[in-house]
């Protein structure tokens, strides 16, 4: 994990000196987690790439223009990513003429499974995760795939620590149930 102090120094350079190189270094660190997060939600490589780019552009603009306090860069990035994903879902729901909740499920096609090239077990796991509600998917992703702590997840999702612990517990339980059924 990138030392927090280095990240804060880079953030300081971006906010105060508007240093693009400092932002590029932050990009290097966060591009993969954000891409994974977006990809698992949208199930489409091109869309994931586009959205990830947009997330970083928007983050840069926010950091240099907004005077508001930035508690955590990670939180900011994930928040912008989540908002962008919701916009995409809305757009697709209109095009597909299906309810918003069904969009993700519809998008998880055989092609998606092939491109992942994971072994059968991992494939099954992803299928199961995508059957869960969004809140559970997010905590499973952030906790087990990204390896974040409950405190960090709470900051990203803007919930309190205890609440997140409860959600993690319920999500994990649900994942086990669904996995046992398949």
């Amino acid at each position: 994990m990138k030392p927090l102090l280095t990240e804060k120094l880079l953030l300081y350079k971006v906010r105060v000196k508007k240093d693009p190189e400092a932002f590029a270094k932050l990009y290097d660190f966060y591009v993969a987690p954000i891409y994974r997060f977006v990809y698992l939600k949208l199930s489409n490589k091109e869309d994931a790439e586009d959205i990830t780019s947009e997330v970083f552009i928007k983050t840069w603009n926010y950091l240099i223009k907004e005077e508001k306090e930035i508690g955590s860069l990670r939180k900011l990035l994930y928040t912008i990513a989540r908002n962008k994903i919701i916009d995409v879902y809305r757009e697709r729901a209109t095009k597909m003429e299906c309810p918003l909740d069904n969009v993700q499920h519809e998008l998880y096609t055989d092609d998606f499974k092939k491109t992942i090239e994971l072994n059968e077990e991992k494939n099954q796991l992803i299928t199961v995760i995508k059957k869960m509600k969004h809140e559970y998917q997010e905590v499973i992703h952030l906790k087990y795939i990204e390896g974040l702590s409950a405190t960090e997840i709470a900051a990203i999702l803007d919930k309190n620590y205890t609440n997140v612990r409860v959600i993690i517990h319920r999500a994990t339980k649900k994942l086990k149930e669904l996995s046992n059924l398949t």
Partner: protein, 477 residues
């Protein structure tokens, strides 16, 4: 979660398999694109000259936000405030504190004063009794009255009054809580409240501050008038609150004495009777003041009649000497504005009449109440006596509100009329001057024509020089 699941999920991140992780070529390409997109705006932003001297402070503030967590900042701020407050109390910064004692709301040292009061209250809460705490709160309430009286602006006065109200409310709450705990504590607090609130009420009523804010800007001046009217209303609310809290305290005293919950060494029945009598006196004297106030307000309405009469006389004279029924545009404007002014004046006069009646009724009720309360006290029926006092308090509150409404209506009418006079006088002067000049000039021409027509010799007839004399005469009315 089973280890297998957790491992499988974790491995996805580490996996070099395409799909779930971004393509490295894309990452590099995107990075270059991102840099190209953000570099230009960054250069422009960096080249902008610093327009504020506080750039350093701004950068420092941003750095603090990034490097220090919110919790730590909050804790540091709270610790610093506590440290300052303790230093002020313990460290002996007497010069600062004594300088701060005379500060007013909004001034630099006012926060030091508040911190010092806060510390004093905290110490009393921790080491003293509830009675000590209430005594301290009322002492601070007196400070607010002092600040109100020394205020230099309506904002300062308003802040002082709001703080005073909060202090009084908190003493009321303390009294209620004490009532649920022990009669002795309730009695002690009630005594303190009754004594101190009387002094506060007297101070508030006398030497009410006159805020001398003025402005040449019409909008600002209007806002000042509104804010002064609002301030007057706030003062009345504060007085009512203090009165009500004081009465509540007396109620507690009566309850405990009648139910013999406390001994005569704490307070005697005679003391309570005298307290009730004092409350009644306060109310009656308040009624007299209202009577005087409405009298003054009523007399100020006479000037409306004088002003209106002057205006119509001037206008009449202008029209008469005009010898024309034509009404100029400027005169129409004058008449319209005079009408608006008349409506405002009529409204004010009506309100003054209502207020005068109300005050008369209230005064009569006060006279009756004095007799009844006296009789009830004589019969040792203290609760009933206090009920009568409370009733009279309600009557006085109503009358005060109506008098305040009338006072505001009159001051509004005076403002409107003053504006009107400013408009009317130059307009009518212009009207008179113009039309008289026209008349004189046309009359002179007629005379000249007739003279020239009837005679072969030309004679110069001097134009009457009385135009300005007539104008002066009209204008002086």
């Amino acid at each position: 979660m089973s280890k297998k699941f957790a491992d499988n999920l974790k491995q996805m991140r580490a996996s070099k398999i395409s799909g779930i992780n971004p393509d490295s070529t894309w990452v590099a390409r995107n990075r270059a694109l991102l840099l190209s997109q953000i570099s230009e705006p960054a250069k422009t932003a960096q080249n902008e000259p610093a327009t504020e001297k506080s750039m350093f402070i701004e950068n420092l503030s941003k750095a603090m936000q990034i490097f220090v967590s919110k919790k730590v900042l909050r804790f540091a701020r709270a610790s610093l405030t506590m440290f300052l407050a303790i230093s002020v109390t313990v460290g002996g910064w007497t010069a600062t504190v004594s300088a701060a004692n005379s500060s007013l709301p909004g001034e630099a040292l006012y926060n030091v004063k508040m911190a010092s009061e806060g510390t004093e209250l905290l110490v009393n809460k921790m080491l003293g009794t509830e009675e000590d705490k209430v005594t301290t709160i009322l002492k601070h309430a007196s400070n607010r009255v002092d600040e109100f009286q020394r205020s230099k602006s309506s904002e300062q006065a308003n802040m002082a009054i709001q703080s005073l109200k909060k202090k009084i409310e908190s003493t009321g709450e303390s009294l209620e809580k004490a009532g649920q705990k022990s009669p002795e504590e309730a009695m002690a607090i009630a005594k303190v409240i009754e004594e101190k609130t009387e002094i506060i009420l007297t101070s508030l009523a006398t030497n009410k501050t006159e805020i001398n804010e003025t402005s040449t800007n019409v909008d600002t001046a209007n806002r000042l008038v509104e804010s002064h009217d609002a301030l007057k209303a706030e003062v009345v609310i504060a007085e009512n609150l203090i009165q009500a809290t004081s009465i509540k305290a007396v109620e507690v005293l009566i309850q405990n004495v009648e139910q013999q919950k406390i001994g005569e060494e704490v307070i005697t029945k005679e003391d309570v009777k005298q307290t009730i009598a004092r409350k009644l006196d306060q109310l009656v004297s308040g009624m007299s003041k209202l009577d005087v106030e409405i009298g003054v307000v009523s007399s100020s309405t006479i000037q409306f009649d004088i002003a209106s009469s002057t205006i119509s006389t001037v206008l009449d004279t202008a029209v008469k000497e005009n010898k024309t029924t034509e009404v100029s545009t400027s005169t129409t404007q004058v008449v319209t504005e005079a009408k608006t002014g008349t409506e405002t004046v009529a409204d004010a006069k009506a309100k003054v009449e209502v207020a005068t009646q109300k005050v008369d009724e209230a005064s009569k009720k006060a006279e009756v109440a004095v007799t009844e309360v006296g009789a009830l006290i004589g019969q040792n029926n203290l609760s009933a006596a206090l009920e009568k006092v409370k009733e009279l308090g309600g009557v006085k509150q109503e009358a005060t509100a109506i008098v305040l409404e009338a006072t505001n209506a009159v001051s509004n009418a005076i403002d409107v009329q003053q504006k009107e006079n400013v408009v009317i006088v130059p307009v009518q002067m212009t009207t008179v001057t113009t039309t008289l000049s026209q008349i004189i000039s046309s009359t002179t021409n007629e005379i000249l024509n007739s003279v020239v027509g009837n005679s072969t010799s030309t004679k110069t007839i001097s134009t009457p020089s009385s135009t300005s004399a007539v104008v002066d005469k009209v204008g002086s009315r």
